[in-house]
């Protein structure tokens, strides 16, 4: 599953990536997490609060670390 995380690389963004990878590992779902940290790219994707998460071209989350429950929901 391809997942994009938008954020300029502050602690919150890194925690988001870690949480997604950890949940994917425990569910056994292979994920490919890519990171977009350029502000202009972030804006062009229609994101104004980071960290934001995009799956399959759709923004599913923005502004803050997603809950583990939410992450599991996306991975299913």
């Amino acid at each position: 599953m391809e997942i994009t995380v938008f954020g300029r690389g502050c602690a919150t963004c890194n925690n988001t990536i870690q949480r997604i990878e950890a949940e994917a590992k425990s569910l056994g779902v292979p994920v490919d997490v890519s990171k977009v940290s350029d502000d202009v790219e972030i804006i062009k994707a229609g994101v104004m609060t980071t960290p934001a998460v995009m799956i399959g071209g759709k923004i599913v989350h923005a502004g803050g670390i997603p809950s583990a429950e939410a992450v599991r929901g996306w991975l299913k």
Binding site: G9, C10, D39, V47, G63, A70
Partner: protein
């Protein structure tokens, strides 16, 4: 208390603030932007996308700046702690001063037409309208947001409170009252601007500073001088301001730091005058 505030804030998002601010007249814009700046939760590392998103919605530069500066000026945790330590009247005055300063800052930017100090590439960016996320609907999400927010604030805060109490105790035990009276007392007319300048390189979470402030108050430092020091430490955080360097020219950043220094000094004098008999 923090939980209740976080719950209220779950109704607000920068995306909503943007939608509500677009197309408003300037004066309504400043007031609303200051109000939203107080209540909208956002991480300072989102400042750049937020800034561009506001401008691309046609929101004037001054109104955008009002939103961005009111947010650190009125830190919600500091507000709650001030209310609990020094009373709710004082808390109200503190919030009011943040809102007024934010509005004045935005007004000055528009009056002086400082658009020239924004990096030109910003004006060319066309941004799709940000979606309102489905996940943000419903009471269950709000409850969870409030709980996790309260928990993360609590986790972050106790370290600062401990440091603050430690610094406060050190000041209390080792620095004699006479030193403070002589240097930061009401008779030294330069105490307020010095307090602001001393606070610029220092950065602390608002919560750590309040135990220190209480000790300073016991030592006879006037309220306005303490407040000027607190505001400078909490709101002028160089690393956070530098994030905006990507979209703002150096002149604009210098202008804002200067504006805040002058504004905090004025507020310090004003509070010393208003509360000269104590809180």
């Amino acid at each position: 208390m923090i939980y209740a505030v976080a719950f209220m804030r779950s109704f607000m998002s920068p995306e909503r603030a943007r939608a509500w601010l677009a197309g408003k007249s300037r004066f309504v814009g400043y007031a609303l932007a200051a109000f939203f700046g107080v209540i909208t939760p956002f991480c300072s590392c989102s400042s750049v996308p937020l800034f561009i998103a506001f401008l691309s919605a046609g929101i004037p530069l001054g109104v955008t700046m009002t939103f961005l500066i009111t947010s650190p000026l009125v830190n919600e945790v500091a507000v709650i702690l001030l209310g609990e330590w020094w009373g709710f009247g004082f808390m109200g005055v503190y919030v009011g001063r943040g809102v007024v300063l934010g509005m004045i800052g935005g007004g000055v930017v528009d009056t002086l037409k400082l658009e020239k100090w924004v990096e030109p590439f910003v004006w060319d960016i066309k941004m799709p309208v940000p979606e309102m996320l489905e996940e943000r609907q419903g009471w269950r999400w709000r409850e969870k947001f409030a709980r996790s927010e309260a928990l993360s604030i609590f986790k972050k805060v106790w370290v600062y409170v401990l440091i603050g109490v430690g610094v406060g105790a050190a000041l209390h035990g080792y620095v004699p009252k006479e030193w403070f009276i002589a240097h930061a007392g009401a008779d030294n007319p330069f105490a307020v601007p010095l307090a602001v300048i001393a606070g610029i390189p220092l950065y602390s979470n608002a919560t750590g500073i309040i135990p220190v402030a209480s000790v300073l108050m016991d030592k006879g430092v006037p309220v306005g001088t303490i407040l000027a020091f607190i505001m400078s430490i909490v709101a002028i955080s160089l690393p956070e301001i530098m994030i905006l360097k990507k979209v703002l020219k150096v002149q604009m950043i210098a202008f804002f730091i200067a504006f805040l220094v002058v504004a905090f000094t004025c507020v310090g004098y004003l509070f010393n005058f208003l509360f000269s008999g104590g809180i």
